[in-house]
């Protein structure tokens, strides 16, 4: 097995195992930690696909930011009160079957797809490429994102401190 294949299967195991645990654990904290494992696996796959910048931002933004928020909210709402409640829908086998069929169908579709030979990236380093494209070709989205973040600050602060 080549080194690349070995790491691909290792990261795939992390991603799939974490995702499966994340949707089947009863406790919300356990689900969040499993989701973290899954996101780490996907981050490793980004590394295999030469997307170093996304690897770092996956860890900083997703694992260090978004999942942290999730854990905060899980701790803010009362965990113990919800412990005895039903965590899964009564008709969960139906949903699982439907999505399993869809997933297998897509997997077969992709395994049959003939992708043209891949092109190579310009040889200047991933972060430099991202920087040039982001700051020149995607200039307007870059600035609009700051507006989005402004709206997110205002909205979430207003919602979260309504008690007073």
């Amino acid at each position: 097995m080549t080194l690349e294949a070995f790491f691909f299967y290792a990261f795939t195991t992390l991603a799939l195992g974490g995702a499966t645990l994340a949707i089947t654990r009863r406790s919300a904290v356990h689900a969040a930690i499993s989701l973290m494992v899954s996101l780490l696996g996907v981050a490793g796959l980004y590394l295999l696909l030469n997307a170093e910048f996304l690897f770092v931002s996956q860890i900083i933004l997703y694992i260090g930011g978004i999942l942290l928020l999730f854990l905060f909210v899980i701790m803010l709402v009362n965990l113990d009160a919800g412990r005895g409640l039903r965590q899964f829908h009564q008709r969960w086998p139906l949903g699982a079957a439907v999505t399993a069929i869809a997933g297998v169908a897509f997997a077969i579709l992709w395994s049959r797809a003939k992708l043209p030979p891949s092109q190579t990236m310009p040889d200047v380093g991933n972060v430099e490429l991202v920087a040039d494209t982001l700051l020149q070709d995607y200039l307007v989205p870059f600035e609009v994102v700051s507006l989005l973040l402004l709206v997110a600050v205002v909205g979430s602060v207003l919602l979260a401190r309504k008690r007073a």
Binding site: L35, L45, S57, A107, G155, A160
Partner: protein
Amino acid sequence: MTHLLPPEFFTATVPLNAYLILSAILFAIGACGFMFRKNIITIYMCIELMLNAVNLSFVTFSYQFGKVDGQIYSFFVMVVAAAEAAVGLAIILTIFRNRGTLQIDEIDTLKN
């Protein structure tokens, strides 16, 4: 050890299709959880899982085409997910404060 396995086993590289298949399966797992979880927070986590699966196929296509645009898209998806998580979780907190529950089928004011 070497004679137990076919020689291709040691030289095979991973085709890009494998990444796309993984992305499809991850998306299916996320959608599955979205359907059968009852707690709003865990449902929300399943949405993040689906976003992540889509990001993976964006990055795969970016690698395939030798262009960095796909990576930029998934970067924007991450940023939007962060903004969405901040506001969405604040909404979840407000719901919890007003209703005292996070079970998805007890929050049905619009239905009645």
